[in-house]
Amino acid sequence: MGDGIINAYSDMENRMTATAPTIRVRNLSKSFGAAEVLKDISVDFQEGTVTSLLGASGSGKSTFLRCLNYLEIPSAGEILIEGVPIGATVCNGTRKLHSPSEVARMRMKLGMVFQSFNLWPHMTVLGNVIEAPMRVLGLPRKEAVEIGRQFLAKVNLTDKESAYPARLSGGQQQRVAIARALAMQPKVMLFDEATSALDPELTGEVLEVMRGLAAEGTTMIVVTHEMRFAREVSDRVLFLHGGAIEEEGPPEQIFGSPKSERCRRFVSTVMN
């Protein structure tokens, strides 16, 4: 019996270290005034996985993503990045809000790519990419430039490093935005409808970069309408409806044989 207990403990230990989620969300709720946008969501995100968030407009997927890096402040629940809470610590039911600098420090672990790119127009492409490594990580300029160039090369925009964002196409701007987020070498990359604002012929180049990142084993959470990308690249798909996770599972399940009726209807409408 002694053996059994020791085995049980080491099993538990193994399970804990082997499957410690990079992001753990517990009972996340968010209301805007009277409207409840996220209802008590609990979900884990494992390292190295690509998770796609699907759902109709208003289902809360963007809000969920923005809660992860505390750009939206949850009404209830907590979010743990590598075991450390972001934004607020919940202790015996009371929430203790973190200071802005604490939140900023946690945000360094997450990289976000926005639908509207949000490149800073008064800085060059390279300037955009090295700004955060220099200001936030405190890297000296030479080092930041090296890292910046490395990631610009990754998104195939080395030749544009001294251009200003206004001169670039949408697809190019979004790739710069991805390089900017990558330059901070975050643990998780968050994509908030990264291709929705792009003309159709430009989405390809961005999706290609995202596929490349996925193939390298980057942990990604992607809110998207690009169903082909979701099906081909994700390890797991979450289907949101009305602020809750209606269904979750591997792409084969969500796209092939969804269990919920709403999910089935959504997938069939969008795939046509």
Binding site: G111, F114, S116, R180
Partner: protein
Amino acid sequence: MLDRLKDSLDLSVFWEYRVILLSGFGQNLSIFLLAGILATAIAFLIGAARLNRNWFIRTGALGYSEFFRNTPEYVLLVWVYYIMPILLTNLLKTRFDLSPYAAAVLALGVAYSGFMAETVRAGLLSVPKGHVEAALALGMSRRAILFRIVMPQAVRRMLPEALNQYVSLFKATSIVSLIAVEDIMYRVSMVNVDQMRPLPLYTGAALFYCLIIITASQIIQRLTNGWRVRGWA
């Protein structure tokens, strides 16, 4: 009437007294520059305060800018000239005199700080929220965001309107003659007393201002159009 018209446009008297008149104009210019600097400095403080998280600071700034935008400059000028010395004398317990020049700079600077504060506020607000969010998402501190992301863009965006405000300020410096600052209008009336030729003198003064303001406005128009085309402002 035709010979009267000729008399009005006979600017030889203007030319004759050009040294005196131009040195008067120098007063207008220097008051304009100093008041402009004062107005801009205050405007940044108040404009930023309008967006502060604290309700009291926000409302105080709003009160400040509404008060100075809705009070006539001449009233402020007279008030500062007559009453500031009395207040300061009582406050500092020593005799304090405010020269007309200083009163003019102070009054005009403060008067236009109200307008410029609005311009600053509009400029700060016009920076897209997404740019700030991107900076936040990268973990930048609020201070870094203000100085590296918001300010550079806000200043460029507020420049066209600010330049228009400066032109208005320059026009407003014409009233300093009313508290005996020896500016161009003061000198014009002095010369009139001497020469008794109001037609060319006052017409000349009007045309002079006209020329300067229209030229300045045209230059500003060209500049801001160029900026807009290049996506700067």
